[in-house]
Chain length 493, copies 2
């Protein structure tokens, strides 16, 4: 890369006009400046070792340039870059960020990064720095960070908060992780219903700015009970002489602090909302949920399902340390090892049969594998339907019938192909027939387990996705071997 393109990049990264590629460009710029800074350092050390004088040179100071770049970046872009850097580079950049940025930006960055990256960043800060960064945040944001912060830092920050905010922090930290309460914020603008819009407008002009995502202001009575909402859109299109109570909307989505945040997110998506009031059991307005949190929730839910599908407990920092990665992955692999071992043991009960017809050994994994694949398709679709709440006691029987019928058709067709293959490989028509039957039966096993496990887990109040795939593979492997070798023992010996 030439000097010129580096400067172009810096300028692009620093330009006023934001565009979707900003974060990616910033990453490239930071990486290349870091690399050049390193290369220069190595060069200087080498020259020093060769006895060449380290005189003052008019060299480009890449580190200074990097500071400029970081200074101009949006905190969310800094967070993005930090995520993508190997740990040592990340900590070096984080040090520069803290030299040039405000403590508020530091707090924002800590909020933006993933849990595992946050851990590395927090580990590099001392207590005073942490307190400074965290105390610049709102109560709900402090609550989000609290689980990852040293206890003393949270206490020190809490002690310094005004009474109302300390109360909010306490409340936010008390709600369960997946509840609306844990995700809401407290930055609501509230008004009374007996004033005119003119008065509301005058009131609002006393603010320097409204909280982010204020698309509506909330109407409450003397006891802070929620009465309705006035959207800014209505406020600006309506004649200022009218009173709030005549204009406000009452049919707005109200959330409870203990509502499941996934359900709330689905409601935001259904009704295309930007914000919603959070109202407690007594009707008191206690907070609001905004669409930026909802977007995060939806993204996280998608990620969780993808990760759970591969047996990963959580998102990994791509440069997490070895031990964290192993802890994240090993439990599921170990579980699979045990189920595969059990299936192998079941199959080994038929060793007399396999000894006589060796080709069975090579065909049996096809039966097991395709049963698992097909069951996984059924299970994935059922888990999705369960997640949206569209599987009901009324329609579940028809759903089961349909799935079994689809599997039967696929089993008849796919089993025939597998049977032909077995016939060709072994030269035995009987073995082809056994293959066909075993395939069909194991596909039905896969479909049944693929439906039963998530449905039963949901009924019992568990997450349908977690662990279901291990149970499925266990069933299709074990039953696949058992059915295939069992039929072969019955009909071919």
């Amino acid at each position: 890369m030439t000097e010129q393109t580096a400067i172009d990049e810096r300028e692009a990264a620093a330009s006023d006009r934001l565009d979707p590629e900003d974060a990616g460009r910033a990453l490239t710029a930071v990486e290349s400046l870091l690399a050049r800074h390193r290369a220069r350092f190595v060069e200087l050390v080498e020259r020093d070792e060769q006895g060449q004088a380290l005189k003052h040179e008019p060299a480009v100071d890449y580190l200074t340039e990097l500071r400029w770049v970081l200074e101009d970046m949006h905190p969310a872009d800094v967070a993005y870059v930090l995520e993508a850097l190997p740990v040592d580079d990340r900590l070096e950049v984080w040090k520069l960020v803290r030299e040039v940025g405000s403590s508020h930006d530091e707090g924002e960055i800590l909020l933006e990064v993933s849990d595992s990256v946050r851990e590395t960043l927090i580990g590099a800060m001392n207590r005073a720095e942490l307190v400074e960064a965290v105390e610049s945040l709102d109560a709900d944001e402090v609550a989000d960070l609290a689980p990852d912060l040293p206890r003393e830092v949270v206490e020190e920050v809490a002690a310094a908060l005004p009474l109302e905010e300390r109360e909010q922090l306490r409340a936010a930290m008390s709600y369960p992780e997946d509840s609306v309460g844990a995700r809401m914020d407290f930055e609501m603008v509230t008004i009374r219903d007996d004033v005119t819009l003119e008065v509301v407008l005058r009131y609002l002009r006393r603010f320097d700015a409204l909280p982010d995502h204020t698309d509506q202001i909330f109407v409450v009575d003397r006891d802070e009970r929620f009465m309705g909402a006035l959207s800014l859109q209505l406020l600006v299109v309506t004649e200022p002489e009218r009173e709030v109570k005549d204009v406000m909307q009452q049919d707005v989505l109200q959330l409870g602090p203990l509502d499941d945040v996934g359900d709330a997110a689905a409601a935001f998506q259904r009704y295309d909302l930007v914000s919603a009031p959070v109202v407690d059991a007594a009707g008191k307005l206690v907070g609001r949920l905004t669409v930026d949190e909802v977007v995060d929730v939806i993204r996280e839910e998608g990620e969780e399902q993808v990760l759970a599908g591969a047996g990963l407990r959580e998102e990994e920092d791509i440069f997490s340390n070895l031990w964290d990665s192993i802890r994240n992955r090993a439990p599921w692999l170990l579980l699979n090892l045990f189920t595969a071992g059990f299936a192998a043991w079941v199959a080994s009960r038929f060793d007399a049969t396999v000894e006589k017809i060796v080709v069975l050994a090579f065909l049996m994994s096809i039966v097991a594998g395709i049963g698992g694949n097909s069951g996984n398709q059924t299970m994935t679709l059922i888990i999705r339907s369960l997640a949206t709440g569209q599987v009901t006691p009324t329609n579940v029987r028809r759903l089961v019938q349909k799935e079994l019928l689809v599997t039967l058709m696929i089993g008849l067709g796919g089993g025939a192909i597998a049977g032909l293959f077995a016939w060709a490989l072994s030269g035995s028509l009987g073995l082809g027939g056994v293959m066909w039957a075993a395939m069909l039966l194991n596909l039905l096993v896969g479909a049944s387990v693929g439906m039963a496990v998530p449905i039963v887990r949901t009924r019992l109040g568990y997450d349908p996705a977690l662990g279901s795939s291990v149970l499925l593979t266990f069933a299709t492997d074990t039953m696949g071997f058992f059915i295939f070798l069992g039929l072969a023992t019955l009909f071919l010996l």
Copy 2:
């Protein structure tokens, strides 16, 4: 269910206060009313057959009650209910919805439902009904529906549009599926920069309502070129005497109509946006993207990845017809059948070995299976990192090193456990050693393929997720058999 609870449900579903459970309650209410209507109908027919008079009875007419429920429901909730009903119930409810609802609601519902459900609903409408429902929508919404509508309907609707909207429809339909252009709308409020906020407020009061998700109005020059944005929040907190050009923000995210909508969604999430202007190459404001579309995009992306992981081409209507389901699932199963067949053929080349040591037959699928599981974990993480753009030419080498090291550690540990199991099952220490080595090697195969396939596919410009898992299983199955049986042939015979 008693009469009373049904009425409670109806009232809950119809209450002004929206909450996240509304859709679910509506579904239960509709299901139970439909079931009771059916039961009543059967009863009447039976009585008729038994010769009992069908005299006018003061019976509850469940169908009328169902109409009331549907009339009070939010279109998005109706869409939700339609998704969850078996096809015959769905069409019956859809008929009632069209009797009681406005054609605008019908259009909204068609927009909300999934592609496959939309197909069934459109199939039940005649041309005139479709035209009426569709022409009540905005140009960008018509464009969204167009691919699923009969050609003549789109033409008839387009012909009836005013020139400007017809032009917008043509533009929206011309952009590629995953572009910002295909997702943007045209409902922007624009102003000039040389007026005061007072003038802007007066101008806005001439609207009955602003378009949904108007959090900012756009400032353009005489040639419709984008100059900046004025947020409603700023508009209401700022003194009305000030001029737009002094107050407007210029550092807002600007999108191009050809930008990838996934990148745009990531930017919305990073910068917590509600709307963003879409500006063409000449700087002209051509549309806007809003957060409700972004929420849909993020949800769809998550769904696609989950479905692709199970080898499903698309989301299925849970009550889609058999043939659609088979078409959705069979190709991937067939592909897996071929790769499993190939792996079986490779293994069968070692039949002399297996004939001598039968227990190999039962252990070989463990080696293949765990290699596939572990490779899938690696692949899932890499695909996620690739999707966020955080894998760069600079860090990819460190990433590969780290993955191989993690796999090596897991392989040493997991391989040892598998080796002990093999030893126990066979009584041969040598076989335990072969198991250990084969497991370790096949885990490394899985990790290598799990990284290489998505990275290479991304470099070549393909989607990294699609098809990767078939290639991975192919590699870990074939190589697992080959390595294990090969080592056994070398060392145990």
